[in-house]
Structures are given as C-alpha cells and as structure tokens.
C-alpha cells in the first residue's frame, strides 16, 4: 500500500498549530491554538491526529514534566519535523495554486 503523502484539512490545521505553538506544542496547547481559529474540535480529535501525524514521521515527541494542574500527569511535547514542514508547505502551495486567479486568491508571504 503506498504511503499517504497528502494532508487532510484537519491535519493541516494541527500541523500549523504545532508550528505556531513552538517549543510549547503539547496536546492542550495545540488544542487551544486550533480553537482560537474559531474551529470547534474535541481534545480527542486533536490528540489522535497528533498521534497519527507522529506515526507518519511528520512530528516527533518527547515526554515533558508533570504539572499540578494536570493532576501530576506528564505532557507530550511535539516538534514539527522537516518532513512535516515540507508536507505543510506543499499542501499550502497546492491550495495557493488552485486559488490563483479566483476571487479567493491569496498568497503565502
């Protein structure tokens, strides 16, 4: 079975949220970034998508320190890998190419 190289719409959002969250890109933070766009999602959807993207090699993760607000539970901090950055760039370029010349035209800076 060929490896999936494209990104789903929600996967794009999650990758962009990880990029935006920077060094603090753990589950709840990524969830907050996505919700700030106005998109209503569940924590479970964000968590399983992060997990799926990590399996595809687009993200990597490491366990962080536990905190009291999390009931003493550790975080899992995600990092956008080179493949993930490339996949996101590719998806956005494709979108830009499709929209070129339409009344919804926009450009990546």
């Amino acid at each position: 079975m060929p490896t999936r190289t494209g990104l789903g719409e929600f996967e794009m959002l999650v990758l962009a949220a990880v990029l935006r969250a920077g060094s603090g890109a753990y589950g709840a933070a990524v969830y907050g970034e996505v919700e700030r766009t106005g998109r209503q999602v569940s924590m479970g959807a964000v968590y399983t998508t992060l997990s799926r993207l990590e399996e595809r090699g687009l993200l990597s993760s490491r366990l962080g320190d536990p905190t009291p607000v999390r009931g003493g539970r550790r975080t899992k901090v995600y990092r956008l890998e080179a493949e993930g950055r490339a996949a996101l760039q590719r998806a956005l370029s494709q979108l830009n190419q499709l929209l070129d010349g339409t009344d919804l035209e926009w450009a990546l800076e």
Partner: protein, 196 residues
C-alpha cells in the same frame, strides 16, 4: 456539576483510553478543564462532551490493533451476551414472547438478530476506522446477513404474538444505534470535528 461527579467523568474518560495513552491524554483534558473552570466557560459541559469524544479515542486506538474479523467477533459476542443476560434475568417480559415460539423459529430469530448485529456493527466499525479496502466488503456482508433477518424473521414471528415483533425490532434498533454511535465517534476522530 459537583466536583465528585466531574472527577468521575474524568475517570471514565481514562477508562476509555488505552493505558499507553492515558496519562498524557487525561492530563491534557484535565488541564483544559481547569482552564475553562478558571475562565467560567461551561467547563462541565465541555468535560461531558469529551467523554463522548473518549469513545472515539477508544475506536481509534482499538482499531489499530485489531482487524475486521476481530471487530465482527467483538460486536457479535457483546450483542449475544446482552441477549443471554436479558434471557437469564427474564427481563424485559417481551422476551417471553420470543421464548414461547417454537425452537427452530426462535433460534432463527435470535441468531439472525445476533449475526445481523454482528456484521452491521462490524461494518460500521470498519467504516469508522477508515479501512478503505474493507468498507465495501463489510457492507455487502452486512446486507447479506441482514436479508434473512429482515425477511425470514417476520415470517417466523408471524406465528407468535405482536410483542415478539417489538422485541425483535428493538434488538435490531439497539444494534444499529450502537453501530452509529461507534461510527460517529470514529469519524469525529478522522475528521477532527466535535461528535454530534
């Protein structure tokens, strides 16, 4: 919602999460819940909705380790067990109507419902897990099995009283509803939308 009930809901979310993911996922849920409580933003309602989302997490991780055969077996065993429990407990009384039928007819109805629920549930679980190669096959198998249930079941039930029809219909409805619940949660994981 009291703190005790909220803690219990959080515990239930943990039960639905596979052990290797439980600590981190529950930590994320607990942190977001605390943030919403601090902001006064419908924290308890959000936590309840995450319980629903937790079903989808179960489907997502459960599905990775099993194949379609196991899905079918799980659905069938669960549904059969439920029917056995109802029979042993003699609840609800409507099952007496099914029990009063002749041996062959009763067996056909009960096994038909079981197999129909099994394959329909398995097809829907396969759909939720996004198994491209199995969706069509699972759907056809489900239809093939549901055919005798829908068409032969009533023929046998016609010789019993109308309550048996209600029992049969209720059992099928429960099986289909269960399948849709699982599918809805599973699809919410794939598409990233909040479960309906």
């Amino acid at each position: 919602m009291s703190q005790g009930i909220s803690a219990w809901v959080l515990r239930m979310i943990g039960w639905l999460t596979p052990p290797e993911h439980r600590e981190v996922y529950l930590g994320d849920v607990a942190e977001e819940w605390a943030r919403r409580r601090a902001c006064g933003v419908a924290a308890d309602r959000w936590l309840i909705s995450e319980l629903w989302s937790g079903l989808g997490v179960w489907v997502r991780y459960r599905g990775r380790r099993s194949d379609i055969v196991e899905d079918l077996v799980v659905c069938g065993v669960a549904f059969s067990a439920a029917l056995v429990v109802l029979e042993v407990a003699n609840r609800p009384p409507v099952l007496d109507s099914v029990r009063s039928m002749g041996g062959v007819g009763r067996s056909v109805v009960l096994w038909g419902v079981n197999l129909g629920a099994l394959t329909l549930g398995g097809a829907l679980v396969a759909l939720a897990r996004g198994r491209q190669g199995h969706r069509a096959a699972a759907g056809l198998v489900a239809l093939a099995w549901m055919y005798p249930v829908f068409f032969l079941g009533p023929a046998y039930l016609a010789v019993a009283d109308s309550l048996a029809v209600v029992a049969w219909g209720a059992a099928v409805a429960v099986a289909i509803a269960t399948g849709f619940v699982v599918t809805s949660c599973g699809l919410s994981m794939v598409e990233g939308r909040r479960p309906a």
